[in-house]
Point group: D2
């Protein structure tokens, strides 16, 4: 698949990705999975996707953390994937959330997903047995998975959910694997992120996993972002990205500072319930997350509405 | 010794709610799930159980953390349960590891397990969305699960794996639920454990979840323990328990200090791989854990053997 | 009860190294330093000491964490020590809080304190440069200090204040130093505490540093405790200790569970301000701590009063 | 570039509050305090300062964390300040490390320092009693200190040493105090840093406290940095700053990625011992830090030399 064949220049704000070679870059929303009465609503899912399709998003992450994959049965996950793929046009990349505790479960899931479609897997680190997830265990996990996955693998580092931070040593080794094409780093840790970039790992793209650090990550060399915020504010996320590419740094920075509070409300503070509430306010379908995830209280809702107004989404 | 005279109505099971029925107390191993070539070995499972049956263990936890439940497919889990139940005599309690990220997945799993058998569910807190697992989310989760579970529920607090510690406020409320009969606390935090005991929650048994704190937990009022160490050293765990009941405190204390290093090697330091290595040394089947979990290196193995010798298991 | 029969050569002091001399064991309050209008009140200090002298406390820690040593100038510290010594009878041990960031500062302080009096130094780990406080740095620090201190050294491990936990490796080496006689462990971590006891370090006494774990620590082999709570409830702390020595385990345990909430309110939750408020309620002088330490709010005060009533101090 | 045009009224000092006076911006090294045989070497201090004076540094932090202030007696601190001031030209700002556990100690120290000279105080949060340092305690501390300090106050947030992170709520209130002129944030947390900038606090300058985040901090709006690395690589730090001002983003970014490993070696990994070793390699005097701080081992030294070569300092 040509999708991830890259020239080793990670940071294109000085030029156009020559050819029309789609690479792992730009903005991707990790899309929410809508529920009605706690059951997956496939119609609301397709409605949302049709709306997101109107934006210049590079693609989508289906069944990531914000897709509540952890709350779904395997059958539900695969149905969500099948529905999503139906409504996503060919020119958009589809990255499938994967990654379970054992290699076996992960590969078994990938096999089934692969038959449905998609372009790459986003693989979260196994994390239940935290102190047992040594460097060598994680290296072995990703290596075995990358060997056998039938799609390119994007590593997913999200310490706030996993309690695990992949070390530079492990990542340096994994990056050279031909089927590992990049990493979504949701740590928000810019020292770590820059240290990774400083390694100049060839054919290994770095995406930030949180809009909290979108602008600074782009400035230091990120290829883009997989951003919960791109569910509700795709255009602003795209603007921050494109302004950087165009060298309009000051404008991009202004937007970044404008969205940071909204992003914290809809990710760190109220999580998926907050994100879904925001979607409901602006014409998408959000609904309630699956229990025990919660919707914000009245005060939280008001704060989210205030922030949506500040960026003219309300 | 009055310390361990427990309210006998706490834990009715197997449909015989008569007086003097067993309650949640004593020693339970959370049994390992054996693999051969990464596949569950049901024959080794049954062999192990037959050996454990020779001890005065109150019962077993099947498919807990040490049972690598997180590494198994749902079908595998249910098969393990089915096999285990076949070999466990009627007078032993069977506690089934359960607990997934959503109420829906948890209840769906319980429904299937219930048809196979068992006496209670050990329900780990949902934890992937850590910062979203507020007190009210956790209260709602356990309440909904306890309402609908068709077996008594034992709460499982294991911060080292989940990154979440149930608060006293939440536990005080949950403890009054008629279908919640107790808690396995693996925090190792004696201040927390004593604070819980000080609440004197009626019909709510507290078990320690780690042999690191078996003796001191019993001394402050624990009803027993669910202990990884009871896989390899069931008799010593039972001795610590019985000596406390008999008021032979000094002897019990000596045993406790004797096993603490072995317990750390086979849980905190080398985890399940260490526990399985120890089993292999003493006539049980341990084998390798499912990948990416690892076996100890040569030095780790030597340390484990040294400790096994110190308590005459080798 | 053999548990508490300790090697009598461990702790020689006041230049009378005879047989049967007191050793580091029993109950010690780390006494508060009273302020009036933010200035040390030496008269209130002496009044408090006279009251504490009525109890069978083994001795006192002067200028520990609860003595707000960190809030005092060196001159004030030395004056507090001088006053305290005047009012403490000869048969009580006097342990002086010491320990600063550099060996040089620590030793310079000790030299001055030594000229005033006292029996031992309680030396907190240097901790400002946390990640630089490697095992070897801490080993060097305590070794140099113990070499040159003119009184026996008691190690003070208090991770909640220092962010540092001394490792077993370091402690095993330090314990063999002839001028290091024991350790106050305020970690509250019973696994760690038992692991230390399991090393059976000769002539090295272990005291718990928090009433949160007084009873369980005594049961596993602690020689006693240096307890903030012994400022306000010296008799109950002594009772827990003596009941253990007499084998009256159940009664000791009951007292332990009775005081755990009060101890948390006056240490973990409201800290020194809470402790001083409690002192004011029961006939000692507490007063306000030095700014920016705070007194509890109205609700906090009410909670403390409720707990004082539960143990009949009010 | 407008990004760095700052309100010129923010930081008046040396008693000449005219227009166009310098403000808190640009690059400041928190200079090391040299020791020979564990005693402060005032001659080496002056030699170092003379060399640093050759660079376009805005000024110096004397007696900060990297100045080992915590390892010095008060008398030594004041002597270091006196010596430093003698060798620092009038056109350089002098910021004095201050901040002790109580308001009283802090103000007493400031009074003495003020008589010697300097332009502002850098005040670290009190932190020994961590859990007692509530928002209101910290607000009271900084407010009282700012009221009474006879020089402008710069807040110093350094969670890696203090274990405390000042909240946005507290900072928003403190920023409006007329004598609080800015903040050194060493958290390295860009989400936090941007959230502060998004508050658009008037007359409150934000400096990053670590070269790990110099470039991204400048890009989002920092006024400059107080950087350990500026001890050894003042010119590169200045280049990163000036290139940003000139809009030469790509070049600035390249330098940033070039120094990140060196910065980690000389701060996070080997700390002050590493920083001093690097100084020794490049013509400054480093020497040994005060015990128990350590010098790097042979491997650490080699790593530092490698990185110094990469940026042509060796």
């Amino acid at each position: 698949m040509k999708l991830f064949v890259l020239d080793p220049v990670a940071f294109y704000f000085r030029g156009k990705p020559e050819k029309d070679m789609p690479i792992l870059n730009g903005i991707y929303p990790p899309i929410v999975t809508p529920f009605e009465d706690q059951e997956v609503s496939y119609s609301q899912l397709s409605n949302n996707i049709k709306k997101w399709n109107e934006y210049e998003l590079t693609g989508y992450v289906i069944l990531g953390s914000n897709g509540e994959n952890a709350m779904l049965s395997e059958a539900e996950s695969l149905n969500v994937l099948e529905t999503a793929i139906k409504y996503i046009p060919d020119n958009k990349q589809i990255i499938i959330g994967a990654g379970q505790e054992s290699c076996k479960l992960t590969l078994n899931y990938m096999k089934q997903a692969r038959q449905i479609g998609g372009d790459a897997f986003l693989v979260v680190s196994p994390h239940y047995y935290k102190d047992q997830m040594t460097d060598s265990a994680l290296l072995n996990f990703y290596t075995e998975v990358a060997e056998k996955a039938e799609l390119p693998v994007v590593i997913y580092n999200v310490p706030k959910f996993t309690g695990i931070n992949l070390t530079l040593n492990v990542l340096e080794k994994l990056a050279s694997h031909p089927n590992i094409v990049g990493m979504k780093d949701s740590s928000g840790n810019m020292t770590y992120f820059q240290s990774l970039l400083a390694l100049q790992l060839p054919e290994f793209q770095l995406l930030t996993g949180t809009a909290n650090t979108l602008f600074p990550s782009l400035m230091v060399g990120a290829a883009g972002g997989i951003l919960a915020l791109a569910n509700i504010a795709p255009q602003i996320c795209l603007d921050i990205f494109h302004l950087c590419q165009q060298g309009k740094i000051e404008k991009s920075r202004e937007l970044q500072l404008k969205i940071i509070r909204l992003n914290q409300l809809t990710t760190n503070i109220f999580g998926i319930g907050g994100l879904k509430y925001a979607l409901d306010q602006i014409g998408f379908f959000g609904g309630k997350p699956r229990s025990p995830l919660e919707v914000p209280d009245a005060d939280g809702k008001a704060q989210i509405r205030t922030e949506l107004k500040k960026i003219s989404l309300l």
